[in-house]
């Protein structure tokens, strides 16, 4: 897998855009930004294969904000749509019925509801079959398109429409976020990475690097969701940056199963600084603070990084628990 890169600074971000401005998505949508950057790296010859979610409504007949192909499938089976499209193109080219110049990159775009929950089986199937495709999960940690219900990506302490914080359930969601990165790694995908739109160069390089691998190239993008998380849309990048700086959203990759963190905060900011920016965590601070819940979150972040530090020999200066 290639280790050279054409992306040194943000100025190296390709200028060409393939997604039109003024689409129907929410202001400050992290998922839309991730698609835009992803597309810049992969270039024009591309087909998005979409699972039901926020991105589905961006292409609404007779309008499409894309210069590339779009196929909406269903909630559970976008990876199978990618399989059929990839196989269809391959067999037509093999039979000489389709010119190689008509070939394109097949990219699944799905929210966390599809990636972590209802589409987990079809994703696992595509990975196990070694399908040559890209997979972009814009992870806003809940079912955003239907109004923010919990998914198995929803972190401990977040409220959602189906895990509201009440007097009897003061912490909101108390389940643990599913570790999709590790689940995919167990399936032996050649390239897996996490992304944050706030760390553009890291993002660009990972899409570039994954592209040199044959087989499933899987990405989980931390997609800030102003509508669901409850913050000013202009703060999207700041909120994502805080998630990275506090260690709540680790930036990493797995090349042939070997995990490496691609960014380690110089000094970890306390996780409460990140939590405070969003209404989904407001119940941890108001009307009374819930220090035990905040401490639980901080501990899980610290435990994660202590383990990563031990495994990779990283020097980490963790925040106080």
């Amino acid at each position: 897998m290639s280790t050279t890169t054409k992306f040194r600074t943000l100025k190296d971000m390709p200028k060409e855009d393939y997604i039109a401005p003024g689409n129907t998505l929410c202001a400050g949508c992290g998922g839309a930004l991730a698609m835009r950057i992803f597309h810049k790296v992969l270039g024009p010859n591309l087909a998005w294969v979409n699972a039901a979610g926020c991105m589905t409504i961006a292409t609404s007949y007779p309008l499409a904000p894309l210069k590339s192909n779009w196929l909406y499938t269903a909630f559970a089976s976008a990876p199978a749509g990618a399989q059929g499209l990839r196989d269809g193109l391959d067999v037509l080219m093999a039979k000489g019925k389709l010119r190689r110049s008509e070939d394109l990159k097949v990219v699944v775009v799905t929210g966390d509801g599809a990636a972590y929950d209802i589409g987990f089986q079809s994703t696992a199937g595509a990975i196990q079959r070694g399908l040559d495709f890209y997979y972009l999960c814009y992870d806003n940690e809940a079912y955003g398109n239907t109004g923010f219900q919990m998914s198995s990506s929803t972190p401990y302490g977040s409220s959602s429409k189906t895990t509201p914080a009440t007097a009897a359930f003061p912490y909101g969601n108390t389940d643990t976020k599913k570790d999709l990165f590790e689940a995919w790694r167990a399936l032996k995908a050649p390239y897996i990475a996490t992304l944050s739109n706030s760390h553009g160069v890291d993002f660009l390089r990972k899409v570039e690097k994954g592209g040199t691998a044959k087989g499933p190239k899987l990405y989980i993008d931390f997609a800030a969701c102003p509508t669901g998380w409850g913050f000013d849309p202009k703060q999207s990048i700041e909120v994502e940056k805080l998630a990275v700086q506090t260690g709540a959203w680790p930036l990493k990759e797995a090349v042939d199963g070997v995990v490496k963190h691609t960014y380690v905060p110089g000094a970890f900011s306390p996780v409460r600084n990140y939590l405070r920016t969003q209404e989904r965590y407001e119940h941890l601070f108001k009307p009374v603070e819930r220090p035990e819940a905040i401490a639980t979150i901080q501990k899980s972040v610290n435990d994660y990084w202590a383990k990563a530090a031990a495994e990779e020999g990283l020097k980490v200066r963790l925040a106080e628990g």
Partner: protein
């Protein structure tokens, strides 16, 4: 070609190979599995030039099938029963994509309770999906209908996917005499698929776009309905061509001894053969009996049904399916086809039988004719018949007793 003995499953696989399908996404389920096993073997031994991929579910299988069709490939797949229902969400999507693939459904009754033998609740659950439906009585028909289905589905006037139905066990695992067409002739009858707007690098398209308003949704659904209705004439055209090439004639329906028939039994699929025997027996007894077989189920051949049932004294609709709380699925479709006719049969007898592959005998079918004759003139609605022989009921009661059910 010389006749060969082959199962319905092998006939379906053979027709897919003759159609030179490009892509076969698959998932096993009894009694369909022999179809995909056969194709998998042919692909691996190099006697079938297709890509075969086994998916992790029927839902994914149908998604892959539709997507490959949108890429411009000719696609074949097969399923059965629970598998068809597991894929059901995607049937509606694939038809909405106007992706003209062909699916062989090997009918098997639906759980619960789980059973392996056929009835038509599985394929009729797909009745409203936008797939065209052609139902087979014999293994020969399976092969012929698969080839015809591609011609109709891929016609620019239609552009809809199609199901070819065959009964599990009675056709799937039963060897019958089948004459397979010559490849060279098939190539003339069925040229390569020429997709109208495939997914391509140089001419991007959006498929499956959302429509956020009802008027647009209605427009596209009406459009699909109009295409499905056109499929009947396209089928008739293709069938004439097919007869010219291969000698076998097919229409949307088949009549048997209808010329002077007073009493007509309407039915579909493999048990129709038993219906024909019953007609012959009734004729021997001097009863003017006849049979109407439904081959095309979607679009529903209303005009043909009306033309062949009008003026009869009585007709029965044999449904090998059950919509609990209503009755058979075909009955209201036949009734709706006749309602506007002044000379419709005075009696339209609903009959339900053969559920879960329950054996039928010509005796039972003769009983249906006798009941048709016995229903008095002017009866508003005859009581529906639910076929169960006394010996079968006794066996069912014995099983209940073994299970400890009292009384």
């Amino acid at each position: 070609m010389k006749p060969e003995l082959m199962t319905g499953n092998r006939a379906a696989a053979s027709a897919a190979r003759l159609a030179r399908v490009d892509y076969v996404p698959a998932y096993p389920i009894t009694p369909q599995t022999e179809i995909i096993e056969t194709i998998a073997y042919w692909v691996r031994e190099g006697t079938m030039d297709s890509k075969f991929v086994q998916l992790e579910s029927e839902h994914s299988m149908m998604t892959a099938a539709g997507a490959a069709s949108l890429a411009g490939a000719r696609v074949f797949t097969a399923t059965s029963s629970q598998g068809l229902l597991y894929a059901m969400e995607m049937l509606y999507n694939v038809s909405g994509w106007r992706a003209p693939m062909v699916l062989a459904n090997v009918s098997r009754a639906l759980a619960a309770p789980i059973v392996l033998e056929p009835d038509h609740n599985d394929v009729l659950a797909a009745r409203d999906s936008g797939f065209l439906q052609f139902h087979s009585e014999t293994c020969q028909e399976v092969a012929d209908l698969v080839l015809l289905a591609y011609r109709v589905a891929e016609d620019r006037r239609v552009m809809l996917p199609a199901i070819v139905n065959l009964d599990g066990f009675y056709l799937s695992f039963t060897r019958e005499k089948v004459v397979l067409p010559e490849q060279a002739e098939v190539d003339v009858f069925l040229p390569p698929y020429d997709p109208p707007h495939p997914i391509r690098a140089t001419s991007p398209v959006a498929k499956g776009s959302a429509v956020m308003e009802g008027h647009l949704y209605s427009y596209f659904r009406y459009n699909m309905h109009a295409a499905a209705l056109r499929a009947k004439e396209v089928f008739n055209e293709a069938a004439r061509d097919y007869q010219g090439h291969f000698g076998r004639a097919y229409g949307p329906v088949d009549g048997y001894r209808l010329e002077d028939a007073d009493y007509v039994l309407t039915m579909s699929n493999s048990f129709t053969t038993l219906g024909r025997q019953a007609v012959n027996r009734m004729r021997e007894q001097g009863v003017k009996a006849g049979l109407l077989k439904l081959r095309m189920v979607r679009p529903f051949p209303s005009e043909e049904v009306a033309a062949l049932l009008r003026g009869r004294k009585a007709a029965a609709v044999f449904d090998q399916n059950l919509s609990p709380g209503m009755g058979g699925v075909f009955y209201p479709e036949v009734a709706a086809s006749l309602y506007h006719l002044k000379d419709r049969p005075e009696t339209l007898l609903p009959v339900v039988g053969g559920l879960g592959g329950k054996q039928l005998t010509a005796d039972e079918m003769c009983k249906v004719f006798e009941t048709m004759r016995a229903v008095g003139k002017g009866a508003a609605k005859p009581d529906p018949m639910f076929l169960m022989r006394a010996d079968e009921l006794a066996r069912a009661k014995k099983a209940l007793a073994t299970a400890g059910v009292q009384g």
